[in-house]
Point group: C2
Chain length 274, copies 2
C-alpha cells in the first residue's frame, strides 16, 4: 500500500510524506491528533493536519527555540513553556543547569499522553521533577501575575500570536508583565516566505512592548518553505551582545557561533522589518 | 481544473505546487523541459521533473551562488558559468563592474531559448555584450586550458559533481587548472538533509584539490527541504576573511553581513565535514 500524508503549507503548496504506518489517530474534541510513522522523517506528531514535530528534524526547532533565549539570559531559573505538549523544548531547557523550574501551560492533555507513548525521545523531560504541567486554558493564566518568570517560551501555534489586533498586543503585554525585570521571551512567527504580513504583525506588536526585539531563523525541512522564523522580545539582555558564558551543552544544531549568526537576516526580511 | 505539479524531492517526499497553466512543455531529446506558471512561485523552469528556478525564489539561489564568490575575489574579471542556461547567475554577475567577460558553457540551447521567451527577468543578462554562450558539451572543454578564469560558477546539477569517484576528482582538478593563480569556484551540493553522503563526497573531493574549502547555506523554499548548500573552493582568497571592499550592488537576499554568516553551519553539518 502506498500511503501518503499531505499537508497544505499554503493553499497552493503541499508537502507530501510517504507513511509506513499510522501509529495513532484520534479526534480529541479539541483537535485532530495523529502520530504517523513516515519514511523520510520517522514518527511525526500531526495536529489538525499540520506536522508539529518529527523524530528526524524536531531537534532543530526545539534547540533553537530554547537555547537561544536560555543562553541570552545570564541566569534562567524559572521557565514557562506555553503549548509544546510534546515536551521537546522542555527536554532542551533541562540541559541548562541553572534551570530550577519549568511550568508547561496550555498543552492538550492528550497530546502530552500520546507524545509520552509514541515519541519518548522527545517527551522524556516531561517526567523530570523540575517540570510541572498545568492543564489550564492559558487565556486567563496571567491575570494578576507579575515578575514570575525569567524566560517564557511560546511553543505552539495556538499562542504564537497569530491573532491580530488588540488581542495580540494584550498577549505580549501579559507576557511582559509575567516576566521578571530582566526577563525575555521567544515565539515562532509565521512563515517568512508565505506569511509576511503575520511576521510583520507579530514583530510590530512585540517591538511596541519590549525594548529589544530580534528575529532569527533556522532551517527546518518540515516547516513551510523549509524555514522557521522566531522573534525574541527582551527587557534587558540583547541576544546579539550578551551571550552568557556557560558550560557547553550537547546539541546537534545550535552552537554559540550560530546563536549570533542566526539573527543576520536576508535583505528582504531586514527591509520588511525596518 | 485543479492542476498540480509534484516533484519527488526524495523517493518518500513530494513537493506539490498548484499550476495556473503549463506555459511550455517539450522533450528536447536530451531532457524534458517545461515552464509551469504556478500560483505560489510564479513561472517555474522545470527540467526532467525538477524545479530549477522560479520567478519568486530564483533570486536567492542566483545571488548566493554569484555574489559570495564575486565579493570574495578582489578583481573578478573573467568568469565561466557552467550550465545555468536560464541566465540568472549571469544577470547577478553582470552587476559587478569589475566583470569583463562571462562565458556560459554547456547550457542546453533550448533551455536558453525558452528562458529568453518565458523568463525574461531571469534571462535578460544573456543578451549583454560581455556574455558569450558556448554550446559545447563541456566534458572536454578544459583540455589544455590553464589559468584562464578568475571565477568559475558551476550552476547545474549536470556539472555539480554528483558523479562519484575518479571522475569527480578529475573534474575539480580541471577547474583548478582552468583558474588563475588566485582563482576560486563555487558549486551547489546535494541536500544537507537528504544527501549527506553526496555533500561529504563533494566536500572531500574539493578539499583534496583546493587549499581553501568552505561550505555555506541559503534558504530556498523550492529546493529539497528548503535548503541549498554551496561549496566554495579557492586558491588564495578565504571568503571568511577577505571580503573585498566594493561598491554595493542591488540585492534582495545577499548582504555583506550575510556573506560571512552563511558559512556558520549547524553542528551536525560541522561535524559531518570534520
Amino acid at each position: 500500500m502506498s500511503l501518503w500524508f499531505c499537508e497544505f503549507q499554503t493553499p497552493n503548496l503541499e508537502l507530501c510524506s510517504r507513511v509506513k504506518k499510522a501509529l495513532h489517530t484520534e479526534n480529541t474534541g479539541r483537535l485532530e491528533l495523529a502520530v504517523l510513522d513516515t519514511y523520510e522523517f520517522g514518527p511525526a506528531l500531526v495536529l489538525d493536519g499540520a506536522i508539529q514535530a518529527t523524530s528526524c528534524d524536531e531537534f532543530i526547532h526545539h534547540e533553537m527555540i530554547t537555547h537561544v533565549p536560555l543562553y541570552t539570559h545570564s541566569h534562567p531559573e524559572d521557565i514557562l513553556v506555553m503549548g509544546g505538549g510534546d515536551g521537546g523544548s522542555i527536554r532542551e531547557a533541562l540541559k541548562h543547569p541553572e534551570v530550577k523550574s519549568i511550568q508547561l501551560l496550555g498543552a492538550d492533555q492528550r497530546v502530552v499522553e500520546v507524545s509520552k507513548k509514541y515519541l519518548p525521545e522527545i517527551s522524556a523531560g516531561l517526567e523530570d521533577p523540575r517540570v510541572e504541567i498545568l492543564y489550564e486554558d492559558g487565556g486567563n493564566y496571567f491575570q494578576g501575575m507579575k515578575g514570575k518568570y525569567d524566560v517564557i517560551i511560546v511553543d505552539s501555534p495556538k499562542f504564537a500570536g497569530l491573532t491580530e489586533g488588540t488581542a495580540q498586543g494584550e498577549f505580549y503585554q501579559s507576557i511582559h508583565t509575567a516576566l521578571r525585570e530582566d526577563g525575555l521571551f521567544v515565539t515562532p512567527t509565521g512563515s517568512p516566505f508565505f506569511q509576511q504580513d503575520i511576521v510583520q504583525g507579530i514583530h510590530g506588536a512585540i517591538k511596541a512592548t519590549f525594548p529589544i526585539t530580534r528575529m532569527y531563523l533556522a532551517f527546518i525541512p518540515t516547516h513551510p518553505g523549509g524555514i522557521c522564523g522566531f522573534i525574541l522580545g527582551s527587557k534587558e539582555y540583547d541576544p546579539l551582545s550578551s551571550l552568557a558564558q556557560k558550560t557547553p551543552i550537547p546539541t546537534r544544531y545550535y552552537t554559540c557561533r550560530l546563536h549570533r549568526t542566526a539573527f543576520v537576516l536576508p535583505r528582504f526580511l531586514e527591509e520588511m522589518l525596518d
